[in-house]
């Protein structure tokens, strides 16, 4: 089936974007809330304790999804930045900006829940373990990216420069990941969820975790749409104010 790419990009036209998100956002938001609650209630109340980790296993229903989101949101920002650079879609740049704060929150959640879990399990809140360290570095990248957005007044200049930072930052974030692995072998277990995860994690834990992940993804989609809508309005507001200033001068 041939895909009509022009029709596809049409959805990113700001006016059209505002039109369809206006209708889709409430649905997605409600869906996100429902699935988020189901996933966490299931995980929190209805799963047995792990025989070794006790009740701390319940932390994973937030730790694992937030950690996944922390990385995937950066990847999404990278894609959005590339689309901005190549096709100059304003919505794309603003979506990247909107996603950054969510990604930073997810990184923080992953770090804090990891620390809380690590205290009873590893006997310490913080260990310079490769994964923990990588997430700390990721947090620094998010902070830098958001700070650059805040610092530049002109929206297009800000979009260009932050996209450049996102591109270069991605390369260095990957490099840091491998450098950190090299620097310390670490005590974090391997990825606890992957596509063949049934082997790693029993079904009782696996299904609620899947629902929780879906909840986090939907929550992110809802938030990013809401925030992008806000940014589009802010951009329009900025343009109107500039025009007023010109007229009054």
């Amino acid at each position: 089936m041939a895909i009509n790419w022009n029709a596809f990009w049409e959805w990113a036209n700001p006016r059209k974007f505002m039109w369809w998100t206006d209708r889709a956002l409430p649905v997605i938001a409600i869906l996100a809330a429902v699935i988020f609650v189901i996933g966490l209630v299931w995980g929190f109340f209805l799963t047995p304790d792990d025989y070794r980790q006790g009740a701390t296993v319940k932390i994973f229903y937030i730790h694992v999804p937030s950690a996944m989101m922390a990385i995937n949101i950066w990847a999404m920002m990278l894609v959005a930045s590339l689309i901005w650079i190549v096709r100059r879609h304003h919505v794309s740049a603003l979506a990247a900006k909107s996603a950054a704060a969510i990604g930073m929150t997810m990184t923080l959640i992953a770090l804090i829940t990891g620390a809380v879990w690590g205290k009873p399990m590893w006997g310490t809140y913080w260990e310079w373990d490769p994964r923990l360290t990588s997430f700390l570095i990721l947090l620094l990248f998010y902070i830098g990216y958001m700070a650059l957005w805040e610092a530049i007044e002109d929206p297009d200049t800000a979009a260009d420069l932050t996209s450049a930072l996102c591109l270069v930052g991605s390369v260095f974030a990957l490099l840091s990941r491998y450098a950190v692995l090299f620097w310390n072998q670490g005590l974090h277990q391997g990825a606890s969820l992957s596509l063949d995860a049934e082997e790693n994690v029993a079904d009782v834990y696996w299904y609620p975790a899947l629902v929780a992940i879906a909840g986090f993804v939907l929550l992110f989609v809802a938030l990013v749409l809401l925030r992008t809508r806000t940014e589009i309005r802010a951009r329009r507001l900025h343009a109107l104010e500039m025009r007023e200033r010109v007229k009054n001068a």
Binding site: A55, I59, H63, T105, P120, L226, R227, R233, L237
Partner: protein, 50 residues
Amino acid sequence: MPDLGKYAGDVLMAYGVTFLLLAGLIWRSLARSAKVKRQLKAAEERKSHG
């Protein structure tokens, strides 16, 4: 309420911090959305009237 055993404090703290952070994020997103919406409306009105 499930019996969380000796790790009750840790588990509840993890969930509590998560909800606090997420609530903060959602609240800030909504607040900014409302503020920008209001300002834009005012600016559009100024434009069409003034």
